[in-house]
Symmetry: C2
Subunit: 280 residues, 2 copies
């Protein structure tokens, strides 16, 4: 019985890696079993279907987000808000994190057709908007924020940050952008990938030149080939601070730093949560 | 030769209906052929693979958006901006439009793995951000907007509106929410759906009570069971006008109306574009 939680955690790590490698639609129970070194029959003992397992995984990811949010509940409200915004910043080297969020986005498209999945998405939406509401209410009480419509602000912030993330991950060049590294490309073949359980978020391949032709490479602001450009999520996070958060601040309160916010919500290091910090 | 464009348009209508009914992953060439009353071999004559056809469809949808944006290029800048924002508002009865956008969102998750799809997504992103930049630059020149960072504002607006749409469509109860109507539910079985080529965006089923139990129905702000609540996209569009657009306006310029904006970008009536106004 004392082994059970650990086995469940190992299975969840396997789901995470299988989603990253194969995506939602293509990941099989066998892929997940392979990724956590369990037997497929053990998985089926605990979870009747792939859908059941993925709903349990969403529950696990959202519970993890709840814990991370709760750990900062007593921080100063302006810093908490910067932390919330920084949480949605994906830097260029966050290849695994992007791959995982693409799989989650696939999963999200099942919401309208799958009630258990939709319930988790609704729970995640409540968590995210509720967190912003809580931060704003604490800040208003503390005199740090002006007396704004907290529900409206929460919806605006969550939509903005989610939208920036969706645009960044779907517009990403994936494996091309990630140069020679493990990259964004999925292992779509059946020869299973080598064990990639070690976190490699700090991949050094980021600075490699992009070899796509000029005509191919987007000339937009955020995805230009010259790398000093911020990512879509970083650009929008900075704009959010200046355009949405700054007007919320009470007279004399300093705009919190995005860098501090990013550092605040960064994982403690190691393990699945390094990349699997997703909200939904 | 003079028939060719018409056949192509019919095929594109078939793709639209097949995506709406089956989603991206599940729609087959046969489904598309059925939806446009063509033979599968004719489709394959023009398009080698389903992927080729879907890339052509994305091209078609984005070109349509380009035309609709161009048709308003000479409107007053503040109204154009309200029109752009209103374009992303999905009312509760927009069941077909939501179903179509869920399929597009599925398609978007293929961007990192499929260069031709990604090229269309990049093109769409440039169109959307470029449109906002153009509106802002015209407005600054006309003295309607303050001299703001247009690129930053464009990225913020597009992320916000896209995020609101993604959240609304993925959190939607689908067929449940749509009561007895054709609804959001996909026809996942093989018995093909009746001809639904007539636009029914103004479905009267909207006012039907939601029969889900209180525990099931989200208690959040936007998806509460009592229908006077605005949709996620409408709530965020209103917040966007007040929080992001209002501070852009030059002294004395009145905030444009969202209702006027929604009406401005509404389709001229009939046909696929009624719902297929999507950007990507």
């Amino acid at each position: 019985m004392s082994d059970e939680p650990s086995a469940a955690d190992e299975i969840m790590d396997g789901v995470y890696r299988a989603l990253r490698a194969h995506g939602y639609a293509d990941a099989t129970m066998q892929d997940i079993a392979d990724e956590c070194s369990k037997s497929k029959s053990l998985l089926h003992y605990h979870y009747d279907t792939k859908e059941d397992l993925l709903v349990a995984f969403l529950d696990h990811v959202i519970s993890d987000s709840e814990r991370r949010i709760a750990a900062h509940a007593d921080d100063p409200p302006a810093e908490r808000l910067a932390g919330f915004i920084g949480w949605f910043v994906f830097e260029r080297q966050a290849v695994d994190r992007e791959a995982f969020h693409i799989a989650l986005l696939e999963l999200r498209t099942q919401g309208p057709f799958n009630e258990p999945i939709r319930e988790q998405l609704v729970r995640s939406d409540r968590l995210l908007r509720g967190t912003v509401v809580d931060i704003l209410e604490s800040g208003i009480e503390a005199g740090v924020f002006r007396d704004v419509d907290v529900e409206e602000t929460a919806a605006l912030l969550v939509a903005t940050l989610d939208g920036a993330r969706t645009r960044q991950i779907t517009l990403s060049g994936g494996a091309d952008d990630a140069a020679d590294g493990e990259g964004f490309g999925r292992d779509r073949s059946d020869d299973s990938s080598p064990d990639d359980s070690s976190p490699d978020d700090s991949s050094p391949d980021d600075s490699s030149p992009d070899d796509s032709s000029p005509d191919d490479s987007p000339s937009g602001t955020f995805d230009a080939a010259d790398r000093p450009e911020p990512t879509y999520t970083r650009a929008v996070a900075e704009a959010t601070l200046r355009r949405i958060v700054d007007p919320l601040l009470a007279e004399g309160v300093e705009l919190p730093s995005l860098e501090v916010g990013i550092a605040e919500m960064a994982p403690e290091g190691g393990g699945r949560t390094e990349n699997g910090d997703a909200d939904e």
